[in-house]
Symmetry: C2
Subunit: 466 residues, 2 copies
């Protein structure tokens, strides 16, 4: 029995010591050294100088503002953190206070409808800019334009099939806005005794006239509506520059040059979510904007696609003299956004965008189909090469017409129904027309539809009240 007890002690001791050894091995292998934790891969501190900025951005993005606003890293600061910037009709420090009777603001072409897409693609679309990123005036090739970004401009056009860019020159601008005027300068006459006549077809985007008039150059004059001018003049010996917006702002119509001479094609809306892509546009001077492609209006980025080298150099010269080239921070950001835009052959972005626009048009036409007081532009089925099917367009704006004879100021009629649009006269058309923006946030659209539904439902009531 004593021997058994001794064997038990011995065996237990052996087992216990073996366990000691196992624990020790586990401790040594599981830690870098004795007493120091070894980090697994997911624990590795992987970031250094960028971590603080990244954490700050994420913390600010996580501020919910009751779901009715946004906080931004560069917002005004209150009690140590950026304030909530509330959506229309909401207020209070956390945007929780609704003003139920507020107006539906459908005035601006602010393309915020794409914001949800970018929030869903947060990882791929984030960009980190170091404090020393591209401090120089110029890129390595001595230009003020990013070659890599240029490559992606070519890519997106090839993918969408909406413009011929091969062998063409590209110039970047602060939005397409800046390039519109650059194009006018580039195309305009050298003879100050006979300045170029700048024209656009009513209804047209007012900036063409505003800019041309404002810059007040000896080389050009804004002369109004193309058709009217054509009726009264011959282009023989008269220098003309024609703006053609296709699809048009405000009515979404696909348009061509009337005069067939020097033409600036404004293709801001020539993307599959607004209109059918009938083929790659192949004109001498075409202008596009990021605002209506990805929705980043605040970034201020546009580009011109130019055939003729001489015109290209003039447009480039304009940008150089106006501002020594556009921000390199902007160009980096745009590159990031376009990399996301071209993923999956563009389908994720354009399907999201198109589905949003299509649903809005379906719901809008449904509401207005019940109206005899208001009409909107007709849409006709056309084949879209990008989506490879015949479909209706889904323009950025509804071009609303007040049909009753006494409603010659449609804006007033809509305003009485708590809707703010943009008057037809802004587009050199009659105020019987009003433009309503369909590209703002989902919240804005829902409110617009609510107000329109209310208005339409009152149509069979008293005419005098409205």
């Amino acid at each position: 029995m004593g021997k058994t007890k001794k064997y038990c002690y011995g065996l237990c001791l052996l087992i216990s010591v073996a366990i000691n050894i196992l624990f020790s091995i586990n401790l040594y292998v599981g830690e870098g050294q004795w007493g120091e934790k070894k980090h697994e891969d997911s624990c590795q501190p992987v970031l250094s100088w960028s971590e603080k900025a990244a954490a700050e951005a994420e913390a600010v993005a996580a501020i919910s503002c009751s779901g009715h606003g946004r906080a931004y890293v560069d917002g005004l600061v209150f009690e140590g953190q950026p304030v909530c910037e509330c959506f229309d009709c909401y207020g209070g420090s956390d945007c929780s206070e609704l003003s139920p009777e507020c107006f539906a603001d459908a005035d601006s072409g602010d393309p915020v409808f794409l914001e949800p897409f970018w929030m869903q693609h947060a990882t791929e679309s984030a960009v980190v800019i170091s404090g020393w990123h591209r401090m120089s005036y110029r890129y390595a090739d001595y230009t003020t334009m990013s070659k890599e970004l240029e490559n992606y401009i070519h890519k997106i056009h090839l993918l969408v099939g909406n413009a011929v860019t091969e062998g063409r020159y590209i110039v970047f601008g602060i939005g397409s806005t800046q390039l519109l005027n650059a194009a006018v300068y580039a195309l305009s006459s050298n003879k100050t005794s006979s300045p170029s006549n700048v024209l656009a077809s009513i209804p047209f985007y007012p900036m063409y006239k505003e800019q041309t008039t404002f810059f007040n150059s000896e080389s050009f004059e804004f002369e109004g509506d193309t058709y009217s001018w054509q009726s009264n003049n011959s282009t023989n010996n008269i220098d003309v520059i024609e703006f053609v917006t296709s699809p048009n702002n405000p009515d979404g119509e696909l348009k061509k040059s009337v005069l067939g001479g020097k033409t600036i094609y404004d293709h801001a809306y020539y993307w599959p979510h607004f209109t059918q892509i009938t083929g790659p546009s192949d004109h001498d001077l075409m202008i596009f904007t990021l605002s209506k492609l990805t929705g980043h209006a605040g970034t201020r980025f546009g580009w011109a696609v130019i055939k003729d080298k001489d015109i290209y150099e003039k447009v480039l010269n304009y940008i150089s003299i106006a501002d020594l080239g556009i921000s390199k921070d902007t160009q980096l950001r745009v590159l990031k956004l376009l990399k996301v835009a071209v993923e999956g052959y563009g389908k994720p972005l354009f399907e999201f965008a198109y589905n949003t626009m299509r649903e809005r048009w379906d719901r809008l036409t449904s509401v207005l189909s019940k109206s005899t007081r208001f009409s909107i532009q007709k849409r006709h089925p056309l084949h879209c090469n990008f989506f490879n099917e015949t479909r209706l367009a889904s323009p950025a704006y509804a071009w609303v017409k007040c049909e009753r004879e006494e409603d010659d100021d449609c804006g007033v009629v809509l305003e009485a129904g708590k809707i703010i649009g943009r008057a037809g006269s802004i587009f050199s058309a009659k105020d019987r027309y009003t433009r309503l923006s369909l590209i703002k946030s989902q919240y804005d659209f829902e409110l617009l539809l609510k107000r329109l539904t209310e208005l339409v439902s009152h149509e069979n009531g008293s005419i005098a009240t409205m």
Copy 2:
């Protein structure tokens, strides 16, 4: 003896079991559960959507390019990563190949001398921009300018004491470049029969003439040198707009208005690292640029400080019509950079910048003091309010004059010594003068000094060879 052995076994077993218990406690406490590692705070995954972009930025920043170049996130891509963009005189895929006979390029006012400061302040100066950052055309207050950034513009001026901004209006532009022309438009005559005469004192920054001529408005004309114009004209009934650059580009002189009428003060260089701050500038229209304050020329950001409301609205209108406001990505980045600039009462930034410039001037004057062939502008001690001492200025450029009668084209002389400068005639002065940039990288400056030293050392040799 047997009893002792039994006690030994017992004691050893007890000790061994106790150790096992300790190991077990350590394992349980040190891990969340049995077998699962518990993460220490430094291991906590703290980032989500921004991590990938942050890691990418850091990886690219870590590409050394042999210390003779930079890789950027938006650089052209080769074999999956951005290429090295080499400093002047270096080449090869890793920028390790030196061209020993290459020229010292001192032509451009590219303010890369501040890059090391920003690399040293990597954490505070990094910025992360989410994919949905400020997509709208407008800020919450419906303007196109960040209020928080405006606050920091006021802060930096208050801190440096170089401009009165309280109660003044601020307008942002794409670099000061854009604001120069905006100011001309804002100040110019409404009567096209008598356009405003735009003037600047030789030697002057060529952009004033280039822009005014290029935009070719009916409202203004560039009429040349202020002094010459003054000799031949009276300002009675003639509308004039005078550019005053102080400190001047190219010669660094502190200047005042000659005519005392409508004046645009270009204060691009009125910072303590270039000149003494003699007091806060208090003029009706003053223009500044980020390029020469923080070195971020590529960002394209400038601002105007305006007294008169009417002029302010005209400048704002210009920006609005030219491009619907400047990029919000740029404004966010600038805010980040200015937050760093104002830290420590601005001392870290301005001491770094000034010490760099002072050392360069000390070394330059030392080299050129041995020369009778080349002279540079005289500098006079003045009290600097910011650094609170009397000191010499350290201008951004050396305004070199070739003293020998036969050297009427100083550029040619310097070029023979493998130095590229900017000809005096670019500044409407004689080509006997050349501007040499002293604000490029340390590498560029060392090469410039080397070439100058070689040139000066040859002065006592054959005149015919040079």
